[in-house]
């Protein structure tokens, strides 16, 4: 299976995962507890949940899936434009991976002081 085929396939898989994860995320952040239902979203009202390593793992997983889906989508837009030679394309791929890794790192380290 070529990389192109894998990318196409996983765009749909990650998309499906995001449907579930995003709906759950919305519920968790706005409806799971009474303070949140009141619209009271602060450090204090979410501290208990985000200190829990299980929730942290879920959130990081969610972030990684979203980044893969989004950056892969952007890659497709660039490829469609079709004006890039193979070397520039390799640079673009690298750039997207770097953005992904950096942003995943920002998300992961968000939990570092909890």
């Amino acid at each position: 299976m070529s990389w192109n085929a894998i990318e196409w396939y996983f765009q749909r898989v990650t998309g499906g995962l995001l449907l579930v994860l995003l709906s759950a995320h919305f519920w968790v952040e706005h409806f799971m507890t009474a303070p949140l239902r009141r619209g009271d979203l602060t450090f204090e009202t979410i501290a208990a949940r985000i200190s829990n390593p299980v929730w942290q793992a879920i959130d990081i997983g969610f972030l990684v899936v979203a980044l893969v889906h989004g950056l892969s989508g952007v890659r497709n837009i660039i490829l469609d434009w079709g004006r890039l030679g193979p070397r520039t394309l390799r640079a673009v791929n690298l750039g997207l991976v770097i953005i992904g890794v950096v942003w995943a790192w920002v998300g992961i380290t968000a939990f570092s002081r909890l």
Binding site: L41, T42, G73, V74, F111, R113
Partner: protein, 129 residues
């Protein structure tokens, strides 16, 4: 030669598939930018409660709540059109890509959007007013 009725019907919404594609692209890029901003904001958790609460408070104003409603619309469009695309890719569309666009993406999308947007708007208006 194809009958007149067929020709007219065929071209009435000819490029709805292209509208869908453009929509998917635009909403996708918008959502990516939102994601990057969102992660950046949530990253403030590591700077302690004061910094985090301050960052969150910026986004509680009526203006940002309206933008949030817009975000819901963008998410819903992208998600439902994504489902449509996946159905078509699996060969489950039954040759009905146009109908799928109008009923699933736009129709169902609008329903879900309003189900979320109206309560949020009322809540924000009530809260602010």
């Amino acid at each position: 030669m194809t009958p007149v009725r067929d020709v007219v019907a065929k071209y009435r919404w000819t490029f709805s598939g292209m509208v869908a594609w453009t929509l998917q692209r635009v909403t996708g890029v918008l959502l990516l930018f939102y994601l990057l901003l969102h992660v950046h904001t949530i990253g403030k958790l590591s700077q302690g409660p004061a910094a985090f609460n301050e960052a969150i408070a910026t986004f509680r104003s009526p203006l940002f709540t309206c933008l949030e409603i817009g975000l819901l619309g963008v998410v819903v469009l992208h998600a439902f059109n994504g489902i449509r695309i996946t159905l078509l890719d699996l060969g489950l569309g039954g040759g009905r890509q146009r109908q799928l666009f109008w009923t699933l993406t736009v129709g169902l999308g609008l329903v879900v959007f309003l189900a979320g947007a109206i309560p949020i708007f009322l809540f924000a208006v009530l809260k602010a007013g």
